[in-house]
Subunit: 364 residues, 4 copies
């Protein structure tokens, strides 16, 4: 399966960028959970294009319609389907792309995989637009988790090398996460954010695009969820996060830096705090040991490549004629996808956490 993720919860994503609709079926949600649709709209709005020149000018209202699984605003426990109609589609912009492989895009690989039958308009099923139903699903899971005190938040850690402040991996709180959640530009340090925005504007004007890194943290995850081997939290989260187009790397806790460390530096010593809770003095393990939560904040960082669609001519191939060509990409594109990917990372983490929480003996 490509677009089905089947764990304790499953999500089946569908849709193409310029097809009739995109959406998701979520199966095995716990019954009786109140879902605040306005809160979900706010979550989706964080992923929607902005009017400030940092994103595509495509207008996506992206109001999800609930087709099933909610009754009196509570989950029924049977599959919840949400759908977003595609309205503002300019297919003409993409007409000459059908045989030219846009560098960095899945045009060529998708054509091979689907033997030329996939809908290529606007990227089709490979479009970043498919992260909207992913965010919907993650927002639903987030509400269920937050009711149990578990909060997940992400921010832009850097764009094109310009760095934001970082979460304190050991002591990050729910308040830290909420402080950045509804900012128009999700950074901790507003000044650094301004530099990033400027850099994005310049990139747009210069027919360029920018990559970046997202940092995400989850707090109050009870210790003991997850499993060793292939169904641990790291496995699950990474499988989902790589479902977000443009992700090229993921690390947990101190991540790649642990490769430069010695054991006594990296090991996080345990202690019992004044409330009798087991904690660690540092959190290089990112809240996960042996695939299982330790009770410390779960922290991860995700690398996002620059948007492949740039307005300058690029050498490429016409993969139907198998000859060298030059492609000029018109259409509307984000000069930097990082800000809009922030809620997508949160969504993926929410899905992974709720799925594992359903195995938690005291989940109610």
């Amino acid at each position: 399966m490509s677009s089905l993720w089947n764990n304790r919860i499953s999500i089946s994503l569908f849709g193409e960028s310029h097809g009739t609709a995109i959406g998701v079926v979520i199966d095995n949600l716990p019954p009786g959970e109140s879902i605040d649709l306005e809160e979900i709209a706010r979550f989706l709005a964080r992923r929607a294009p902005k009017k400030d020149g940092t994103t595509t000018s495509r207008a996506e209202l992206d109001i999800p319609q609930i087709m099933s699984g909610l009754y009196h605003n509570k989950t029924t426990g049977t599959p919840l389907c949400a759908m977003i109609m595609n309205t503002d589609t300019h297919s003409v912009d993409y007409s000459n792309l059908s045989k030219l492989a846009r560098p960095g895009h899945a045009d060529y690989t998708g054509a091979l995989r689907y033997r030329g039958f996939n809908d290529v308009r606007g990227g089709g099923h490979f479009s970043g637009r498919l992260t909207a139903p992913l965010c919907f699903a993650g927002a639903v899971c987030g509400q269920i988790l937050e009711r149990r005190g578990i909060y997940t938040g992400a921010h832009i850690a850097s764009i094109h090398g310009i760095k934001d402040a970082v979460f304190d991996r050991t002591n990050v709180t729910k308040e830290d996460l909420l402080a950045v959640r509804y900012k128009g530009f999700p950074v901790i340090n507003t000044e650094q954010g301004e530099k990033m925005r400027e850099d994005i504007q310049n990139a747009r004007l210069g027919q360029e695009s920018l990559g970046g890194i997202i940092e995400c943290a989850s707090v109050n995850v009870p210790a003991g969820i997850g499993s060793p081997m292939f169904d641990g939290l790291e496995n699950t989260i990474s499988q989902l996060v790589f479902g977000i187009p443009a992700v090229k790397g993921i690390e947990f806790g101190a991540g790649f830096l642990t490769g430069e460390m010695v054991g006594s530096q990296n090991n996080d010593e345990f202690y019992v705090d004044e409330n009798g809770h087991v904690k660690t003095r540092t959190n290089n393990h990112g809240g996960i040991l042996g695939g299982i939560s330790s009770g410390m904040p779960i922290t991860l960082r995700v690398a996002i490549k620059p948007t492949p669609s740039i307005a300058r001519p690029q050498a490429t191939v016409d993969y139907s004629a198998m000859k060298n060509e030059v492609v000029n990409i018109h259409g509307r594109h984000d000069p930097c996808i990082v800000p809009r990917a922030v809620p997508c990372v949160e969504a993926a983490v929410n899905l992974a956490l709720l799925s594992h929480m359903l195995d938690y003996p005291n989940f109610t």
Copy 2:
């Protein structure tokens, strides 16, 4: 499931470090594939402890016994089970660990997950020893892939900041991979390897341990395998790679560096080569676009944390009594797990690739 990975091929791993045996059941292998058991032994020997002071002194012959699924040295297509008996076990060394959470280990999280019933001797099911059956499975898949020209190889990219040479992501060949495969210490640059070994020796003497990074590449993977969303090559490989204990990060192609790039730098331009094959001039995408292989080498890097077991006293908790304690870890441990993790990463990639190859229309 924790220890079951269920894709087109499935593997069900079992065993504890000091239990009766460890092993694996592999289901859905293609029938009629010749398996060279001596070659598999060589693969496993790369993971086995060395006599040169860089690894644990535990002697593990690790000769896998085939219980089913092979007939006249060919796969039958029905489940292949291989088992390794545990023989050289010194449980007494671990007796005082049962209630003290070793920092960086899964003792505490495992005890919560399994409500105190898991076998903690030698790390139990969380032990690095479980990578032996993973390597067995990966070695079997590797032989099936190599018969079709697909080769995977890995090397130590760095240990504690000391760097090896790197694979040429764009042009790496089967010969490059084989050149490093059977070296006692798997580095490209022998001199740098010597520095690493020295560093490991010093770490051992100083009761320390070291982390590092592994680079892996696969060549001749046909373009068009994998899928978008949740069953792409990156999703699958990362889900498996995080099954190797001590992995804290993974990146594909230019990985985290893409976050510092602009689009025109990161985009890999396509061209048709003199043989009429589609290629890219650079390979920042690491051979994967939209979850699907592009035909370019698949490349990835994996971060390995320092072995958590170090001989110096460490502050921790007794999680049964919930009080602060000091733990002294005796026993035999690797001062650096990175060299032995090299074939494990290859194994994980082999499993992912063969599993996706089974969907390839021309697979025979």
Copy 3:
């Protein structure tokens, strides 16, 4: 998962009888398959209520809208979502049912399973209405199979003990299957069909309902598809068929009669026919040996219980108050669900067959 079936193809069903819509997401269909939507409408029409007094008078046009996965009427290979809006819903009829467990229905068990939060209007997710998207998915698969010569057809084998003629298990042909497919009342023997219809009319007048048996056959399935143990054709078909509400039994080939046989009676002797094909002289095995197709027609029979909704008063419990009560079911109900279940059984078999066919080495 309840409503997700995840094999080589997956289907994720959603919806409630009186919710906004019902539908299905089908993942991993082969790309490039032409889908004839009018033919699908004909398939669905066979499941729709009839105007002849044998079914409910609820008018369901059930025109499925394609939301994704079809492009120029060909499958894209990415998820195909189809949706049917719910329009003709009379919720008021069901208002007093919310706490009275209708005998034979899932009201009580569903309330426990979903802790009282499931949408009970019209049976909610348990409604027979959910077989419409199942039929849609089965009709899509059927077209893909028929293009390869594989035909599946079913008929009413009996209603309330009145028996139709039977398929010749050994020699049934595509023509036999098509001969009954588009009959208004799907029986082989029209006279017997008339008796059944009369019986159904009488049942309706007498505030009763009737059960029956459906026989199904698939021809030209190549030998060698399926697997032993848990992923054989019988396992897969039965798992899907029990997804149709009211099914209480399934048997393959001679089925329960084999329990009364001796070996020399039951064993089907093999022979090579004049065209060099391996066949069996009888077909008690129903085309499946060891979970794998033999090349002979696949045959099965399915038991359908009488519609539980009958108009006469029935003793039951109010499961909220936990006291004995009497329930009077109003609303519109089928006095016999068997005729409408005929295409549902075909749909389930089509799904199972196409899913296994995707593993067939020569599938193109």
Copy 4:
């Protein structure tokens, strides 16, 4: 996958009749469950050949060795692997079978499925011997269920038309189930059992074999476990039961008889009993409504075909030479597999029930 069943619990079966060993890996068992290995041996002994002429004379001690997952006789929660070495194998008996398709066997279909590479000695992976690890897994699950009061028992309902008494579907008790469990010949009515045994002896002498029917019941299953659609109790049980070779049909509650009934006959009226429990006055639904348990006994019947191996000459094909031949089956075979299949059916039901019980909110 063929031999992997992956639900809340997974089992991965491996082995061939004349290979090195057969066995099973069970993943996701709850931790801390005491397992009585002697009780498991008794369970397996019920499946083992008898010395009374009703079964094969092959001596199978079938002592399972525990390789992992048990520690101090309690489940660890990590994968439990059990293995049975194959010792008493007479491969010579089967040498001429490798190209002659034994009627009723999977020789021909297996050869196609596995392209001639499967191990055919003694039926290989298709052998009834593979039910030993299935029984092991079912016995483990049974002990976990019985600790919670849930008992499953089966008996021979009929052999070759000679009928045993039946369980009272509505009132069957744990005592009824235990009364038949350890009988050498598992029937309720000993006299009828004697007739069956005589019939089996005659069949053996007459180079024949006999089919039969098994009835199974589970008591004290709490109401509310299971799901609608594809993951209901009927779906799960039937998927597992068809994993037992020779099964050709399954029905729940009144099963195929419901097809001859009217609604008022078939509907089971609910009532609140003197202890305040919801029950039904009859149990035609076999304890399952909408895929979910009602709290009434779960009852099912399974059809077992006559052993295909009979000693008389049979017409067949040599599928390598594609010509008509006669096969003479020597070796040791059960004239009737039904008695030995009784614990296999129980095992399948235990697996299904425990798997669903793990979702039960109050499972501890």
